[in-house]
Amino acid sequence: MNENKKKELAVAALENGTVIDHIPSDSLFKVVDLLGIQSLENSVTIGNNLDSKKYGRKGIIKVADVTFPESTLNRIAIIAPNAVINEIKDYEVVNKRKVSLPDDIYGIVKCSNPKCITNNEPMRTHFHVIDRDNMVLKCHYCERTEVKDKITLK
């Protein structure tokens, strides 16, 4: 317990803002990118390859004085399905929840079908989540399905 506390402190405590925890290490920088954290002016602390009881290694992101809209945070569910969001106020966690995959995913996933209209016109992609547990997506346009391991981001 004491060990853990030390690690938490290693990535700095937050007075107000958002902590995104339990991000798979290999997805951490994709999450940063999806949330547009690189262009924020606020103070941001990023930790990666930290020990995790559940997942072996994990990444964590702390952003001061920002609360993200729920729909924005759910965008990361595709690459970090077990991520946990902590809202911090005055050093206390006031809200804690897991991200959840939305029914429809806009503009994030790339369709693997080269003959799909989305790969040929300047437009936003749109996928339906047809199987939440196995993460199976279906392109709204060409109707091809994408399974978990084959999903690529734009």
């Binding site: 079908n113 003959k115 799909c116 209209i117 989305t118 040929n120 016109e121 300047p122 437009m123 392109c139 709204h140 346009y141 060409c142 109707e143 091809r144 399905t145």
Partner: protein, 305 residues
């Protein structure tokens, strides 16, 4: 988004399908009705398809409407790099309805999202071709008197055949039994078999095109086995004639059996079948006119008396 567009057969409810069949029946009785007087319909064929375009344009003409459009994108601004989006927006200024065919999958769905006038999908790559499905349904309905509880045998290329996939999806409303007859390389894809299982539809698979299967069938839906679909050309040579239909194979078939084929055919139906009253593929193509007249009126919200 224009909700009246027809992009995929699965956009239609059972009731809407039955309504369209009833409209098609009225158009067969009287194909020339001036219901599109004063209307302009654009046929935008980014990919050439003479058969489908002529059928749609005939439908518009018999309804008294006027047609603008192109039959080959190489003569349009697409060849200068204009996006499909801009082409559709431009044409929508002129026409009351856009009928489009495109080699890219999802093109019609996308167009239906921003077009101020309805879109009818006349084929988007290997994806959807709902007017073909409507004419297949009308042909089945007309020859069998019903769509319910029929045994439908699909033969040939079940893997890439867009028409068999759409027909399967549309028939699920009507409790069919399917026989899928194809070689190993061209079997019905797993997703469609799962679809059958999820909806409690009975199906049987066979690599053998036997008379036993033909004799159980109410509808024999033949498709073309194309050489370019095979990764192994030896396999193609081995199977290419196994799924051909000859007149002698129909000797003990049901009286009500009808043979359908989306056309063009090559070898898969021998010419000696043509004279058999059970051969229905040419009338099937003609039914396309009535089915398309019905679809055009539906998307434009025109009532058919």
């Amino acid at each position: 988004m224009n909700n009246e567009s027809l992009v995929s057969i699965s956009d239609l409810t059972k009731e809407e399908i039955l309504e369209l069949l009833e409209k098609a029946r009225k158009f067969e009785e009287n194909p020339n009705q001036r219901l599109l007087e004063g209307k302009v319909v654009a046929t935008l064929f980014f990919e050439p398809s003479t058969r489908t375009r002529l059928s749609f344009e005939t439908a518009v003409n018999r309804l008294g409407g006027r047609v603008i459009g192109f039959s080959d994108a190489s003569t349009t601004s697409s060849s200068k790099g204009e996006t499909m989006h801009d082409t559709i927006r431009m044409v929508a200024n002129y026409a009351d309805l856009i009928i489009m065919r495109h080699h890219l999958e999802g093109a019609a769905r996308y167009a239906s999202e921003f077009s101020p006038v309805p879109i009818i999908n006349a084929g988007d790559g290997a994806n959807q071709h709902p007017s073909q499905t409507m004419l297949d349904l009308y042909s089945i309905y007309k020859t069998q008197g019903t769509l319910e509880n029929l045994t439908i045998t699909m033969v040939g290329d079940l893997k890439y055949g867009r028409t068999v996939h759409s027909l399967l999806m549309a028939m699920y409303h009507f409790k069919p039994v399917f026989n899928f007859v194809a070689c190993q390389e061209l079997q019905m894809p797993v997703e469609y078999k799962l679809f059958c299982e999820e909806h409690g539809i009975e199906y049987h698979e066979s690599t053998d095109f036997s008379e036993e299967i033909i004799n159980q069938s109410d509808i024999l839906y033949m498709t073309r086995v194309q050489r370019e679909r095979f990764t192994d050309l030896l396999e193609y040579e081995r199977v290419k004639d196994l799924y051909n239909l000859h007149n002698s194979m129909l000797d003990n078939s049901k009286e009500n059996l009808r043979i359908l084929h989306p056309l063009p055919r090559v070898n898969e139906i021998a010419y000696d079948v043509d004279a058999n009253p059970k051969a229905y593929y040419f009338q099937q193509a003609q039914n396309g006119l009535y089915a398309r007249e019905a679809i055009i009126c539906k998307v434009l919200g025109i009532d058919v008396k």
